[in-house]
Structure formats: C-alpha cells, structure tokens
Amino acid sequence: MAVPKYIKGKEPHKSEYRMIFRNVDRRGWDASIKSYIADGGYKDLKKALKMKSQEVTDEVKTSGLRGRGGAGFPTGVKWGFIPPDNKKPVYLICNSDESEPGTFKDRYIVHQDPHQLIEGMLISCYAVGAKVAYIYIREEFSEGAKILENAIEEARKKNFLGKKILGGKFNCEIFIHRGAGAYICGEETGLIESLEGKRPYPRIKPPYFPAALGLYMCPTIVNNVESLCHVKHIIAMGGQKYAKIGTPRNTGTRILCVSGDVVRPGYFEVEVGKITMGELINDVCGGLRKGRKLKGVIPGGSSAKVLRAGEKYTIGTGESERTIGINDIPMDFDTLAACGSMAGSGGVIVMDDSRDMAWILNNINTFYAHESCGQCTPCREGSLWMKKITDRMVSGAGVPSDLKTLTSVGDNIAGRTICAFGEACAWPTQSFVAKFPEDFKKHTSRRNAGKELNPESKAAAAGLKR
C-alpha cells in the first residue's frame, strides 16, 4: 500500500491518525473500484471469508470498537444479541442518515471512499449472517446515493457481492434506500419503520431491540457508516492490535468534526482519547478568531449537553481522580460522559464570547421542534414549547419566569419518551439555561412585550452573525 499524498491545502494535521479517512482528499484518488483495488482493497474481505463468522465477531469484540453513530455501544456486543436459535433472515442496515447537527464525516466516506464502506459491510454481513443489507442514506445525499449504486455495481462485476462471493458459499446483496429529509430516521427503530415504508415512528425498547425484532420483525443489526468501516481495519490488523490504538475502553480512531467559531473548522481523524479539547481547538483548528475568547463547546452533536469555558470537572476514580478544565478533557467516550456530556456523533461546535446563548439555544430548539416525530406527548409538545419560549425571548418579549419554565419543560421530557430524541431535545435546554443563566436573563426585561414576534426576522439573524 502506497503512502498517500493529499491535495494541497487539504493535508491532514500532524496530530491526525488517518485510517478511515486515509483516502479522503487524497491526491490522484477517485471513488472507483480500480483505485481501491490498486491500494489493496477487498483483501480484508478475502481474509474474513477464510475465517469462521464467529471468529470475525470475536475480533470485533476484542477490538473494543464502540459505535460511532452516537450512543457508543460496543459493536461486537451488539452483534452478539442476535438470538442464537434464530431461524429468520438476518438483516444488516448501514445508518447513513448523518443528520445530527454538527456532524459531517459519513458524507466524505460515502462520496470519496464508497468501497471501504461496502467492504466493511460485506465483512459485517458475513459475521452476523446477513444475506441482504440496506444502506439507508439521507435524501440530501443524492450524489452520494449514485456513487454508492455505482460502487455496488462495480463490486458485483468483480464478484465481491452477489451470489457465491469469490467462489465460496457466501451470498450477499446490498441495496440503497433513500430517506426523505427527516432527522428521526437516524434513530435506528425509526429508520427501520421508514425502511418498511411507514411513518418513521420509533419503536419502544423493550421489546423492539433491532438485534432481536428489527426489520420485518427479523434480527437486524444497525450500524453507523464509520463503525462499519472500522470493521474492515479490525480484520486487517486483528482485534488485539486495533485495541492498542486509542486508549483503553476507548479504542481506535474517530473522526471529529469541528464547526463554529474556530479559525480552521473541518474533519480530523484522531486516536480516541489521545487528544484534548484544548489541543483540538487551539492546535488542530488554529484557535479562535482574533481577540475572541472561548465561551462554550457542544462536544458531540447538537444533542450533547454544552460545556462552559471555566467549568471544572472531576474525572477518574480512587487514585486516578483529578480535576480538570474544559481544555484538558481527553476526547473520548468515558471522559466526556464523566464531564456530564457525551462524545455522541463526534460533532464539536465551538462558540466564542461574541455569541448570545439564548440565540444559540433558540436555533437548536427550532431544529428539535421541527424534527420531533410527534408520537409522544412530552416530546411533541415540549419541543415546541421550548422553541416558543426561546422564540419570544429572542424577540424581546421574554418574562422572568421563562428560565424556570424552560427547565421544567426540559425536565419533563427527558426519560418520559419512546426514543432518545426526548433526551436529545431536552439536554440542550437543560444545560444552556443552567450554565449560561445571565444570557437568558438578559432577554426577560419585557422591553418589547406585546410586539409582533417574528423569529426569522433580521433581528433574529443578527444575533447569530459573526
């Protein structure tokens, strides 16, 4: 395998560890199977097909890989939940809905390295015993869907996909299924309903854990694009070697997507936990714009609780217990959880001191009010109430009790709904109001009480401008 060279101006940062994004922005690279095979592609599929399927799953378990879609659940463990006495068909679904605000990584895999995903999926299908797999791709990636369709045809011509793959006994088909612009289709059971041709109303768990009762009530494994790509690399190097990348319990690499108020926003593949928030923002992303100070960071997609600059967090237990600030947080699953937020989807949104957190929260609330599927009353009503309250605050008609009302609405959604969207929409409100009360109090002076409210007006835009 050649050492890749990258397009000028798009070279990886020196702190990066490019594995999944090895071919992203690579010079002389294209999405064709020719490029991929010349670079050693599909060797790992051949290797996997020589193993027993259980051995493939065992390697993934050993690797410690945790899902990159949001929840960080161990992939090998999830695969093990398929009932052992199962007689029904098993399905694999690649979640390519990529719709968590702040997240932009799967896009580049799909557009620039589709065969890596297909190879990862085929190996995963072999491991879990799936003969049919679907890639659920968001409708807005129409170009990506075409690229994937083309890649599937290329792979079929080479007999990597279809019947009797590489002359063996393994049969597998992959189909593309396009979504239609609804965030809730990223939630795995909503996705499954959508794939069944229904409204994407998430299913209640238990009993509807996809690994037991998923697509068409058959065992179904849903994994994120990035997770499935990691499987290929785990097979290439072996689970044990993979587990040495990153940090214990937080193994491998992951792609962090940084947006907002930094000099160089972008995507960066790093070893999990080997880089801190401060290094990410200040070294990798070139710091904040001139004269600006850090105000807060949403570390894992817009659903993750906000972190405030200046806060202290106690992490570790016993001997290793220590207190750290926001810049010292290692970017891994467990530490971000210990800091009261989450690593989520890897979408890091940075806000500097020019931002008014009431405006920021209002933008987030508008998203969730628009995207709630409407099944559960607390979520359907609550997400809209939170939006209406922040709407009126930013329009100058807030009242002093708004802070309390916001928090109590949030508190009454989280934990009381069918799917995790409930938490996803409550966490921003709960954390922003608790951590930046001064920004919200500013909007409760009744100075514009009774005026017509138009949250999309120029005034609203001004609050979010750079």
């Binding site: 719709s99 997240t103 990636f141 396009r178 997507c257 979010l464």
Partner: protein, 165 residues
C-alpha cells in the same frame, strides 16, 4: 395516471429490492421517482404508488405529509434549500436566505410550517430552509436541485444564481 415505461421499469426494479411480501418498503423510492418526474407529490402520484404497492392511499398520504423531503406544492424550475441549523446560522445562513430571496425575487412572508416553500413570481426559483445538511464546517451550505454548494454567503449568492436560467 399514466407513467412512462421507463419510470414503471425503474419502479419494478425498486420493488425487487425488498422481500415479495414487503412491497410497501418501496414507498419512499417510488415517491422519489414521482417527485423527480413532477417536481412534487400530488394526489394522483400517491394513488399510483398505492395501487402499485397494493396498499391503501392513506398509507402513502401519511408519508407525503410527514417527510419534509416530499414537496406537497409545486416548486420553481430550480429549487433551493438553504441549511438553517446552528453551524450554518453562526456562519450567516439567514442572510444567505435573505439574499437569495432578493436576487431571485422571492417573497417568503407567507411561509409557514405547513407551507414551507416560497416560489418566485416568474416560477424560476423556489426556496425553503432545510435542517443540517451534514457539512457544518463549510457553512452556509445549500442545495440547488441536487447540486450542493458550500460557503454560500450574501456576497456570492448573485453569482451562483446566474448559473441557472
């Protein structure tokens, strides 16, 4: 409703992607085909999909009214979707939206949750806000038809629009 042979063939291909007793799964792909053909989803299209998949029309209607990706009214010749969500908003997407409307002659004052699309008087352009398009590092971003554009700001909107006629 009559559909072209080509469309019917494509529809059959999509239906074959799902188990024989799960034709309903092809609802979204079929609706996409018809939206591509007509620009939006009308009642006739929904009835055609229902008949093709042996399901009740209500089961297609409930999809058409749920998914923001299916338009219930006719868009302009070129349909613009501007990302509205946080990172793009921080980069100025509300101004991008305003500029698009100014340059393309679109009045968004009657836009509501249930009627999100505004069309220019000459029918050439239509516009709506979309939620996070998964390119937050290069905002503001937008789609014109299926084409994707990054860093679209008040300064370069006019130039971009000129490409379309």
């Amino acid at each position: 409703m009559e559909v072209s042979r080509e469309l019917n063939k494509q529809a059959n291909e999509y239906i074959s992607h799902y188990p024989n007793d799960q034709k309903r799964s092809a609802s979204l792909p079929l609706l996409h085909l018809l939206q591509q053909e007509h620009g939006y989803i009308n009642e006739e299209s929904m009835n055609w999909v229902a008949e093709k998949l042996d399901i009740e029309p209500i089961h297609v209607l409930e999809l058409g009214t749920f998914y923001p990706g299916f338009r219930q009214t006719a868009p302009g010749k070129y349909h613009i979707r501007v990302c509205r969500t946080l990172s793009c908003a921080m980069a100025g997407c509300y101004e991008t939206m305003e500029k698009f409307c100014e340059v393309a002659g679109i009045d968004r004052s009657r836009v509501t949750h249930h009627n999100p699309i505004a069309v220019s008087e000459d029918g050439k352009f239509s516009i709506e806000f979309a939620e996070c398009l998964a390119s937050c590092g290069t905002g503001p971003v937008c789609l014109i038809g299926d084409e994707f554009y990054e860093s679209v700001n008040a300064e370069n909107v006019a130039e971009l629009i000129e490409k379309y006629d």
